[in-house]
């Protein structure tokens, strides 16, 4: 494996955080292939793997096109890179290298970067993992979902519980020191016992990070149809809440600290930095591949959700963009509240500067703090408590209506005047 352009550590100077934001970038690359689609998944992927090498060329072309057209992003350094999918671990290291060469030609990796690749445990070999590592991949995220074989079969996973355990051990042997696994809970019919079992196994694997997602029945998935046909009955919300509770407390007992609704890390430095960029609400990330979403300079854009169209557009020299939106101030505020609250919390000073809003003055915030849903962390972060995570949506909605109190006061005055 050749190496690609890395920046010279000596040339990097000390940056303030703000200037750093303008000099760094995150990148997401969507690899839309799966051996077999899982019944719950609504991310874009196809099962025709033969299109893979063609796709790698297209992806490289998209990278080239985008940076040529928007050269201002080209000067930045990549702080995080994330290969998601689909199943990125279907890529051979050679293919990954072609993509990374294209990418780092424009945006070299920063000195301290995070480079994550999502892996399906059923697709990895020692050779592959060694190849990835040699290319700079320094974080693996394994889609394990469950350690209960019946649940795995039901979900449509291609791997067994044993293969998941083996994959994680292999990653360790190859030398990955930042390994995460994904779990899904609140599966129809799931009991405290089966979830407990899965959590125990996950903890025993001693990974650095665990993501545990509550199953969502997404429109357009096979699972959605099964639910519509009454062949699958989703878990009721109260039971799901209990399983969420169990997940939170079991992982906390095992030394994982929750830093987002679904994410837990053993040490703060093992938090998913790429995802934290999403949850910052203001940081730039560029993206490539069908259905991929990016956020650059306050504009969110997303690509077509079809490999065929993606190819057609790139072949005719067009960016495969489907739509984009520029966020209004109010929309930015909504997203900031939601994204920051769901993760590590809202920086009160920054929020005041950006949106001219004293959150602590809001009676709703005060009440939510009193009731133990919100808390002040390190005196400057307004964050959800462990209990609060369970009510994130409801809490955000309560904070959205910033005019409410102002208008009630105004009305009181009008009425008194009349």
């Amino acid at each position: 494996m050749g190496s690609y352009r890395q920046i010279d550590p000596l040339s990097s100077t000390h940056h303030t955080k703000q200037s750093e934001d303008r000099h760094t970038l995150s990148a997401y690359l969507h690899i839309p292939f799966c051996e077999k689609k899982c019944i719950y998944c609504d991310f874009y992927s196809i099962e025709n793997l033969s299109l893979r090498s063609d796709f790698v060329s297209l992806l490289c072309e998209e990278i080239r096109m985008k940076f040529e057209r928007e050269p201002k992003f080209a000067a930045r350094k990549l702080q995080t890179v994330f290969f998601g999918g689909g199943t990125p671990s279907l890529l051979e290291p050679e293919e990954l290298k072609r993509i990374m060469d294209a990418l780092t030609f424009y945006t070299p990796l920063d000195r301290e970067y995070e480079f994550t690749l999502e892996c399906n445990p059923g697709t990895v070999t020692r050779k592959k993992l060694e190849g990835y590592r040699a290319l700079g991949v320094n974080r693996l995220s394994f889609g394990v979902q469950s350690f209960d074989q019946r649940e795995l079969d039901w979900l449509g996973r291609i791997h067994s519980a044993q293969e998941a355990r083996d994959a994680v051990r292999l990653a360790r042997e190859v030398g990955f020191d930042n390994v995460s696994i994904d779990l899904i809970f609140a599966l129809p019919g799931q009991t405290e016992d089966t979830l407990q079992q899965t959590l125990n196994e996950a903890i025993a694997l001693d990974t650095d990070h665990i993501s545990a997602y509550n199953l969502i029945v997404e429109q357009g998935t096979p699972l959605f149809r099964l639910v519509q046909l009454n062949q699958v009955i989703p878990l009721d919300a109260d039971h799901a809440a209990e399983l969420f509770d169990l997940t939170q407390s079991r992982l906390a007992d095992a030394g994982f600290s929750q830093y987002e609704i679904s994410n837990y890390a053993k040490h703060p430095e093992k938090r998913a930095k790429h995802n934290l960029v999403y949850w910052d609400g203001a940081k730039d990330y560029i993206s490539f591949g069908p259905s991929a979403h990016e956020f650059l300079g306050g504009v969110r854009s997303w690509n077509v959700r079809s490999l065929e169209q993606y190819k057609k557009m790139i072949d005719s020299g067009k960016l495969p963009r489907l739509e984009s939106e520029r966020l209004s101030d109010e929309e930015r505020r909504t997203e900031a509240l939601y994204l920051q609250l769901r993760s590590t919390g809202i920086d009160l000073k920054r929020h005041k500067e950006e949106f001219d809003e004293e959150l602590l003055m809001n009676p709703e915030v005060q009440a939510l703090m009193r009731d133990g849903f919100l808390q002040l962390v390190e005196e400057h972060l307004l964050a959800l408590t462990q209990l609060g995570y369970r009510f994130c949506d409801g809490i955000v909605v309560r904070l959205l209506d910033r005019e409410r109190y102002a208008s009630e006061m105004a009305q009181r005055q009008t009425a008194l005047a009349s």
């Binding site: 969110r300 409801g394 009425a415």
Partner: protein, 600 residues
Amino acid sequence: MALDHIRNFCIIAHIDHGKSTLADKLLLETNTIQAREMTNNQVLDDMDLEQERGITIKLHAIQMKYLAPDGIEYTYNMVDTPGHVDFTYEVSRSLAACEGAILVVDATQGVEAQTIANLYLAIDAGLEIVPVLNKVDLQSAMIDEVSQQIIELLGCKKEDIIKASAKAGIGIHDVLEAVRLRVPPPSGDVNAPLRCLIFDSVFDSYRGSIVYMRVMEGTIKEGDEIMFMSNKNRYRVEELGTLKMGREKKSQLSAGDVGYLIAGVRNVKDTRVGDTVTHFRNGVATAIEGFKESKPMVFAGVYPQSAEDFAELRDSLDRLSLNDSSLVYEPESSVALGFGFRCGFLGLLHMEIIQERLDREFNQNIVTTVPNVEFRVTTTSGEIILVDNPSAMPEPSRIAKIEEPYIKAQIIVPSEYVGAIMQLANDRRGTYKTTSYLDPTRADIHYEFPLSEIIFDFYDKLKSISRGYASLDYEFIENRESDLVKLDILLNGDPVDAFSTIVHSEKAFEWGKKLCAKLRELIPRHMFEVAIQAAIGNKIIARETVRAMRKDVTAKCYGGDISRKRKLLEKQKEGKKRMKQVGRIEVPQEAFLAVLQITD
């Protein structure tokens, strides 16, 4: 115009017995309108709301020219009357403007409560009654039975009853002839001092109040200086005329005429139904008898859905009241609902009409509280307080007695439902008075009720237990002392004023229980438990709990989900606007009317 050639009459009927259809056919028959002009079914009901409901709620009058077989052209003034119990007084004033009344009875339905109520009003006013049996062409017409009912009521002869079908155009000419031959022409001296009876007024944004009136005595001319006797306000007559399909200007109107008057009156409240118009100089000393200030009987809080719409709601009510002198309102505030208005209505139908007009014509999203009557409270210190808002009821220890309005009700129902009606009346604290039979199959039952017992769902109940056959008419009689208590609802320990109701002490316990149970269904789960309690004074009499929601979050880790999620949250924020926040509890608007949904 010779008084001999004028006929002033109205049509009285129970709802849906065909009054408006008959009126329309008379207009067609006399060429007052052409068929093609009848774009809407019924000309007289010109508000959308009236047409949809098939009831007439505002009075109007129209003039037609009838060329009779005797070769003489007669002037017919048809005065329309509202057909609902809330408007008894307005009906009586319209009748007072006439010499005759066409009594329409549906041959398939028979005599109903309002037929009788309106008939008695007409007889009291000394009107000649022309009975018309309508819908005789229908299969289900019970011509003999219903004719017999009419004969019993009027003491008329069978041949006096005109058989008609307004829809099919049968008997229309007979009705016109009967009006000519049986209804006496107006009397009155055109040279006597002026006396005009106002039977309606409408607001016109350019001309001010347009007064509809009958000249009883004397002559009124353009430019005359006139006075409204109830308030002694003076105006100069700007315009006079008669009412055809539009207004037709005349230089004068004299005794016997029905017409309109414009005198630059800015507010319909200054041109009250039943008032007398006379000349400022050389006028009459005494007004026409029967004038009453309209008195609201039913009260409810009307609040804007969002706090910021308060001023707009006030403007809407101001504008609405320009055209509806019966609507009264004053600002009030509620801990739960913020700032709004306490509105007084003539009755429940009137309240519904106002609600709908605020919604449709003024685009106001409003929250209304449960309607209530006005209570007369005597305090232990001997002071008398009128309470039109339950939350304003004094502390029990300060109350010596509470009086509430009572009404007398007339219910007409097929005899097989008498038992069920009596059961219902009993549940509603009714006092039985008498029963008579219009014929062997139809009972005419008289009860006295506290008005508060019939203002919400009594009429619907009456209809449902009688399969739609029962009819009701009622009239206020007096205030009477009752054993009443204030029932409060507390959410997580805090009383919510908008939920307070005044109920009879014997019913309070059951009501408290039912109200709590209903609210438990209506109040959504929160992040915390919500306790709903019913209390009388300090005593909790019922409790229900809305369990805490366990979880309110879905989260994906994916850049593409952010826009979608944002839109979802924005939508939820909009959804919350349909809720009223009471303390920390989100209460859906329909909960404030929960009392109305409680079934006995």
